[in-house]
Homo-oligomer: 335 residues x 2
């Protein structure tokens, strides 16, 4: 956890996270404090999970939103750490459920420590997430967190129960990623604003900004699952499709070619591996990833519009520009 801001150099972090770049290492330190426990086996497990690093985009959003009110690191850093921890704990449980061996090229907790200990490890991290958000002393932020965990769990359950159904449509996909991903971005932004005592118009605008940013983030993620190469992704190409989950590129492809479609055949159990390969090639070559990116750009545009709607006097221009820059970053990321 010595590398600041989730594996970025200080210069990169400053460019991306602007006025809060200096406080992100405090979030990392707060997360690292979890692993300072006596039991060596627990220290090892937490170390492995927390070292994954990610981009720390969610905590950055929380901190930046805090600049629309009275920015106090003592309350905002625990909030930001809580956001990241809730995210990481959810990943730990997801990897148990999906029996995923790798994430971002590293073995998952489920693979390293088996299912039972990984379930408990996730619970332990949820407990710390709850404690960190309680440190803010803000009941509204705490309740927003509880609601987000509920929504995230429902989204994952729904995904799990609808595996290998090819009746998925765009609206259900939006609902699902709203629960699974966008709700936490929205709560990060709302939570930061609420904890800082920002005005209600700012809170509303930031919540919407976070929600739309999260939607764009997940859609780009789903594009990268098809377009990236396996090594950069740290997992096989089209891993969702292989697991029976339809994401936007495959849904749009099924809409375009509803009858004779390799996705249908794969989900019906007809030579699934060969048909998935065929589907991936067709989706890549048929322009469906570009079409999907168009949808992501629409959500990104709505995120920027939400930001514009926040009262002009509520935050300095560096904060606004950094939040706008994160929208571009989400669209342009390659992994």
């Amino acid at each position: 956890m010595a590398v600041p801001a989730g594996g970025r150099s200080p210069v990169e972090a400053a460019a991306l996270y602007g006025p809060v770049a200096g406080d992100l290492p405090l979030v990392d330190a707060k997360l690292a404090s979890l692993a300072e426990v006596e039991a060596p086996w627990l220290r090892e497990m937490l170390g492995a999970v927390l070292a994954g690093g990610g981009k720390r985009m969610r905590p950055a959003v929380a901190l930046l939103a805090g600049r629309f009110g009275r920015y106090e690191a003592g309350r905002l850093v625990p909030l930001a750490a809580s956001v990241e921890l809730l995210h990481t704990a959810t990943l730990v449980h997801d990897d148990v459920i999906d029996a995923s061996p790798e994430r971002r090229g590293r073995p998952t907790a489920a693979a390293l420590f088996q299912n039972g200990p990984s379930v408990m490890l996730g619970d332990y991290m949820f407990a710390y997430a709850a404690d960190f958000v309680a440190e803010t002393g803000n009941i509204r932020a705490i309740r927003a967190f509880a609601k987000t965990l509920r929504v995230m769990a429902t989204g994952e359950l729904e995904q799990d129960l609808s595996a290998f159904e090819y009746s998925e449509d765009v609206q259900r996909y939006f609902d699902r990623i709203a629960g699974k991903t966008a709700s936490l971005f929205a709560t990060a932004a709302e939570g930061g604003a609420v904890v800082a005592g920002a005005g209600e118009p700012s809170v509303e605008a930031l919540r919407r900004y976070g929600q739309r940013l999260g939607m764009a983030f997940q859609i780009v993620d789903d594009v990268l699952d098809f377009s990236g190469d396996a090594e950069a992704l740290g997992k096989p190409v089209a891993s969702d499709l292989r697991a029976g989950t339809l994401t936007l590129p495959a849904i749009l492809y099924l809409q375009r070619q509803p009858d004779d479609n390799p996705v249908r055949r794969a989900f019906d159990g007809v030579r699934p591996r060969a048909n998935v390969e065929r589907a991936v090639a067709a989706i890549r070559e048929g322009g469906l990833l570009e079409e999907t990116m168009e949808v992501a750009r629409r959500f990104a545009g709505e995120a920027l519009a939400a930001l514009e709607a926040a009262p002009a006097e509520a935050a300095d221009s560096a904060t606004r520009e950094t939040l706008a820059g994160l929208v571009s970053e989400v669209l342009e990321r390659r992994s």
Copy 2:
């Protein structure tokens, strides 16, 4: 969920729960509200898990503790529901980890819905538990809850990782059940007192009462695992020992006969089934269950002493007598 107070008749409930018997159905109603969701699959899962019923002893302790301050059902009922929900969610995850097919003679969520959905179901219930405790508006109670979840997860992890080790000693057993069971009883009592704004001496005394009551509760549970018959327990006799977990009766038996012991042989993989049967018979016939009950009675005595230590003027005698009665109930229960 129509049956009040966890499957007891109103008369039984009134005898056992005294002045809070009338409010326990409100806790049941609060728990039932979880299952009022749109998704039919989620409704089914929650219905199956929450209908289990239990004795509602933890919520009763929370409500009774609230009578040491300003008793407000509007704040204490959510707290009590949160306690029960945290308990139930933990059981859902435990059953995934232990791959338990039955609990109290009913199929577990893990058996009914498989592991993945059960992990998420537990998370969903944790989220509601967090939301309910946040409804109290009391940061101290919220943090006590977060800490309890952490301690409970650690206790379960420790149990999981030390399976089939016969070096377990009494102190480690006490530490483990303190985390796994007593911490939630302690937090129920502390939380009720804190939410009701009870004085600090009452809060302290009630926390200690809850902790000791929880220790006695778990030790009796571990005796019943050996003494009960499989049908009443809803699980095989000595299920812990079969799963490689040493509880107090087996630990005391190993201390008495450290060298040539069927538990050792079973854990070493030597004809495990026959050696477990032999161990169960030896523990039952060697007076070890009575010896273990002696330990439970010691903790029960400490619970009563803690209750005595609470300021005399803080609560009415019906409340005190009911809390004292719960101690007897824990010692005398047969299932």
